[in-house]
């Protein structure tokens, strides 16, 4: 029989105050299989670990049970200690008598009895534990980054600067994302394009970065270190190898359509680059608005192109690539105004959203930085900014705070006052949230120096009357109803995950929350990892955040990627579920329940096979398998039955 050592931790008073540890030691001393039992105040401390190591050698133990806190916390610590004392780390098991016992009980007697049962059941498990070795996996040292906004750009540059290859995929014709649309950035008011475009150029020129714009990820298979990715390159109808970006085609194109980059404020051509500083600075043809594609006649761009770069025959193309990691940096979209019926449902011309106002403020926007009323082009003298539009409204819209609106609305009001000094700006708010370096000081400046009127209350209704937008609101501090005849209303509409995120989530098999934001592996300690190994998150795809936070998270994601690439090989936890081919009937049930696509039916052999690199050891297959063929290492039916019997006895 195995010689098992039991080590009971006091965790200071965390365990000892609710569990009678001397009683536990006495009770278990003669339990079958226990060769040694001992308690200590802090088992995870260096003296505690030394004690375990010493006893393993001294008593020639085959396995150890540490009765302490949750395995989430210190399983790895104790397994390392056991390994250094010469036993297989998977022969070290944790009995959780803190989170699942002392912390949740108030009766010491009962808690003590429960602790004894928990420890006994783990002793039973350990008796049947097998020695396991981590699974070795090779790594393709090439990173995929999805999304070319500031989050994707920063991630790509950091990985590339660590010396690894990066493929940056962007669905629109240029990288830059939402940040490229912004005018000046809070709280320092640096020009957004001035700080962003050098990074965009760096991406384009970086030897380690392969830029794939106008492209989308269509399919992903494989696992950490070994992903296989299919990317669709949309037809641009321009041969980028020949095109020099001279712009003659755009200049001569007769078809105009509202510009997405300028938030419909200005027009763009059917053959276009989204903005003059676009990277790559090469145009694409928007098929839906191209006269040739609609009528079969025109081809002016082809005639004027000096380099013969227009190719109406071009087809979309699927490129298959192998990568080791994937970073999702797909950003956000604004919640549509059409969803806000009480604010005109998007039908009132002089009610715009924050990004549209950014394009108005931007020197490169369609108004050359002049603030105008979209309805008549006049300078607005009364401007109302409304915050929390669609945010913090669990009953009707989104429950969360969009985080950046307090700051950008303050910035909007300030920039408005600087450009229209005799105008009046009002901000309706629920709270003013300015947590961030220099943010509170910025807000104070806006409220005090720029004399922006802050009104604490919600706006119930907007409607147009006599050429004005009537704002019906309330000031909850004075208790007064407020009615303002505004010239322009700017809605700080909620930040929502990029339109189409659901499709990508399905392709990547990662998780998202009920609002569509990607789920991180741990909200505090693993904020840039998804729950799938090798897939990382950066920027607003994970949660609303401002530029500094986005860049921070992107750098962290890049660092996680570099950590993986810095190793020779990857090691996967061997607590996987296998297949006993003698028992497997090939019924396929386990294939359906596996959330990681790790199991596949080999129809020739008539049995299921497991990709150990993908298996996360969740146990779904083991519990679903009707014949007991899917046994999980060190969680076999035999072990679980014995544990349950021990607990119930």
């Amino acid at each position: 029989m195995k010689k098992i050592g039991v080590f009971v931790c006091h965790c200071g008073i965390n365990i000892a105050s609710m569990v009678d540890i001397p009683a536990v030691v006495v009770e278990l001393k003669n339990y079958p299989g226990v060769a040694h039992i001992e308690d200590y105040k802090y088992m995870c401390s260096q003296p505690g670990q030394d004690l375990i190591k010493k006893r393993i050698k001294e008593k020639e133990l085959d396995g150890v049970v540490i009765a302490a806190c949750s395995p989430n916390l210190h399983e790895e610590t104790f397994r390392k200690a056991s390994k250094s004392a010469g036993i297989n780390p998977y022969m070290c098991e944790i009995a959780n008598i803190r989170e699942q016992c002392s912390w949740v009980h108030t009766d010491k007697k009962i808690a003590t009895q429960k602790a004894i049962k928990i420890i006994r059941s783990i002793i039973e498990k350990t008796k049947y534990d097998e020695e396991l070795k981590p699974i070795e996996i090779p790594i393709t040292k090439k990173a995929l980054v999805i999304g070319g906004g500031i989050a994707g750009i920063q991630t790509a540059l950091n990985i590339a600067n660590s010396g690894f290859k990066v493929i940056l995929v962007e669905k629109s014709p240029s990288i830059g994302g939402k940040m490229a649309q912004l005018s000046e950035t809070f709280p320092t008011l640096d020009c957004s394009q001035c700080i962003l475009t050098p990074k965009m150029v760096e991406v384009a020129q970086h030897k380690k970065i392969q830029l794939m714009t106008y492209s989308e990820v269509e399919d992903v298979s494989g696992f950490v270190g070994n992903f296989k990715v299919k990317i669709k390159k949309k037809a641009s109808y321009v041969d980028f190898d020949k095109c020099t970006g001279c712009g003659i085609c755009t200049e001569k194109c007769p078809s105009k359509t509202p510009s997405e980059f300028n938030e419909q404020l200005g027009k763009r051509k059917a053959i276009y680059t989204p903005f003059p500083q676009a990277v790559p600075n090469k145009p694409v043809i928007d098929k839906d608005n191209c006269i040739y594609f609609k009528t079969g006649k025109c081809k002016i761009c082809e005639k004027v192109c000096p380099f013969d770069a227009i190719d109406f025959q071009q087809k979309e193309e699927i490129v298959t690539l192998e990568v080791g990691t994937i970073t999702v940096a797909t950003g956000y979209d604004l919640y549509e105004k059409a969803n806000m019926e009480e604010y005109g449902g998007g039908k009132i011309k002089d009610v715009i959203d924050g990004l549209t106002f950014e394009r108005m403020l931007s020197a490169s926007g369609s108004t050359d930085g002049e603030i105008v009323r979209p309805s008549n082009g006049e300078t607005p003298k009364e401007v109302v900014f409304i915050k929390c539009v669609g945010s913090r409204d669990p009953e009707n819209h989104y429950p969360y705070c969009s985080k950046i609106c307090c700051m950008y609305s303050a910035k909007h009001a300030m920039l408005y006052k600087h450009r229209v000094p005799d105008g009046q700006a009002y901000i309706f708010y629920m709270d003013v949230r300015t947590a961030g370096k220099g943010y509170e000081e910025f807000y104070q400046r806006v409220a005090e120096e720029d004399k922006v009127i802050y009104l604490r209350g919600k706006v119930s209704k907007l409607y147009s009357e006599d050429g004005k937008v009537v704002v019906n609101g309330v000031d909850t501090l004075s208790g007064e109803n407020i009615e303002i005849n505004a010239d322009l209303v700017v809605l700080a509409t909620a930040i929502r995950p990029s339109v189409g995120i659901e499709k990508l989530v399905n392709i990547l098999k990662i998780q998202m929350d009920k609002n569509g934001f990607l789920t991180e592996a741990h909200p505090k300690l693993r904020p840039v990892e998804s729950l799938s190994a090798g897939i990382f998150l950066a920027g607003c795809a994970q949660a609303p955040k401002d530029i500094p936070d986005t860049v921070t998270q992107a750098s962290a994601a890049a660092s996680m990627v570099s950590t993986i690439f810095s190793r020779k090989k990857l090691y996967h936890d061997p607590l996987t579920a296998g297949v006993d081919e003698d028992l497997c009937s090939g019924c396929n049930i386990c294939v359906g329940v596996c959330p990681y696509d790790a199991r596949e039916l080999n129809s020739e052999k008539g049995v299921v096979e497991v990709n150990e690199g993908l298996c996360e050891g969740c146990g779904a297959c083991s519990s679903a398998c009707p014949s007991g063929a899917a046994q999980q290492n060190n969680f076999t039916d035999n072990q679980l039955n014995r544990m349950i019997r021990t607990i119930l006895s």
């Binding site: 019926e341 009480e342 449902g345 009953e395």
Partner: protein, 292 residues
């Protein structure tokens, strides 16, 4: 088709014309509204009571009567009754503990009620079910481009759980009226509160709100305000007359139940409208549009 029908107090007095024009209209679609026997107040006037279980008894007893009638659906014409009955049914359904207390308390009723047995249907929803195509078929008189301001108030729109339409942009009445040839003007106060029972103690609040509603409807080109709620009707119709008495310059607008307008267009006996109940006389407008 038969449907249980709960009239409510107002429908037998001030809003007789709402009932009198609705029931024959439903007959045209072969719908027989079967009035519940021995019904009493829906309970809306007790809803300010602080004892939140006692206030539920009246509507729950009505639900029990409806259940005992054997029919699954209960029609209401009055917005207030609709709101009260529907919310009480939901209250019962969602709070098992209180449901038991209430059922134990009501020792004279033999039927136990859970809350989901009876579907409370507002007349606008019933007409939506019939569909605009079928409604159009019954029209015999043209509206001659009558410009209407539809007024929904709040009782059929709030709270969200019982709303018959989008509370911020309701269309259910507009869809019907547009289909029969009326022009529905856009008008920002269509889903604003009429100020309800403020009429009892604070008539000035009602006056100022009615003024706002009527002025906006006129400004946007309306020739009449069309609604479904008897309390909204009183606050907007009767109060307009009071405003006019104080302020000669105030322009009034006739206020009609949407079923009055439909029944006239469907050729139902005009005398059922009992125009003497109106404080702002709609007859000149209806004559001008050749509806009477």
């Amino acid at each position: 088709m038969e449907i249980s029908y709960y009239p409510g107090c107002t429908l037998k007095e001030d809003a007789k014309n709402l009932e009198n024009t609705t029931l024959p209209l439903l007959e045209l679609f072969n719908i027989q509204a079967k009035e519940l026997e021995n019904w009493y107040c829906c309970g809306v006037s007790f809803s300010q009571s602080s004892d939140n279980l006692m206030q539920q008894l009246a509507p729950i007893r009505t639900l029990i009567k409806a259940k005992e009638s054997g029919r699954k659906r209960l029609l209401t014409l009055c917005d207030m009754c609709y709101n009260t009955l529907k919310r009480s049914a939901l209250f019962l359904l969602n709070d098992e503990e209180k449901r038991e207390i209430i059922n134990d308390f009501m020792d004279r009723e033999e039927t136990i009620i859970k809350g989901d047995e009876i579907e409370i249907v507002h007349i606008l929803s019933l007409l939506k079910e019939i569909g605009t195509e079928k409604i159009k078929e019954k029209i015999v008189k043209n509206a001659n481009g009558l410009k209407v301001a539809t007024y929904y108030g709040c009782m059929t729109l709030r709270p969200k759980e019982i709303a018959i339409d989008n509370s911020d942009n309701p269309q259910i009445m507009d869809d019907i009226l547009k289909a029969v040839g009326c022009e529905s003007i856009s008008f920002p106060f269509r889903n604003e509160c009429c100020t309800s029972y403020q009429i009892v103690n604070e008539p000035d609040i009602v006056k100022s709100q009615t003024r706002k509603i009527v002025n906006s409807a006129i400004k946007n080109g309306a020739e009449a305000i069309i609604l479904s709620c008897p309390l909204c009707h009183y606050n907007i119709d009767a109060v307009q007359k009071e405003i006019k008495e104080e302020d000669e310059s105030f322009t009034t607008l006739p206020v009609l139940y949407f079923t009055q307008l439909l029944s006239l267009m469907m050729g139902i006996d005009p005398s059922l409208n009992d125009f003497s109940l109106h404080h702002i006389n709609p007859k000149p407008l209806l004559k001008e549009k050749k509806l009477i």
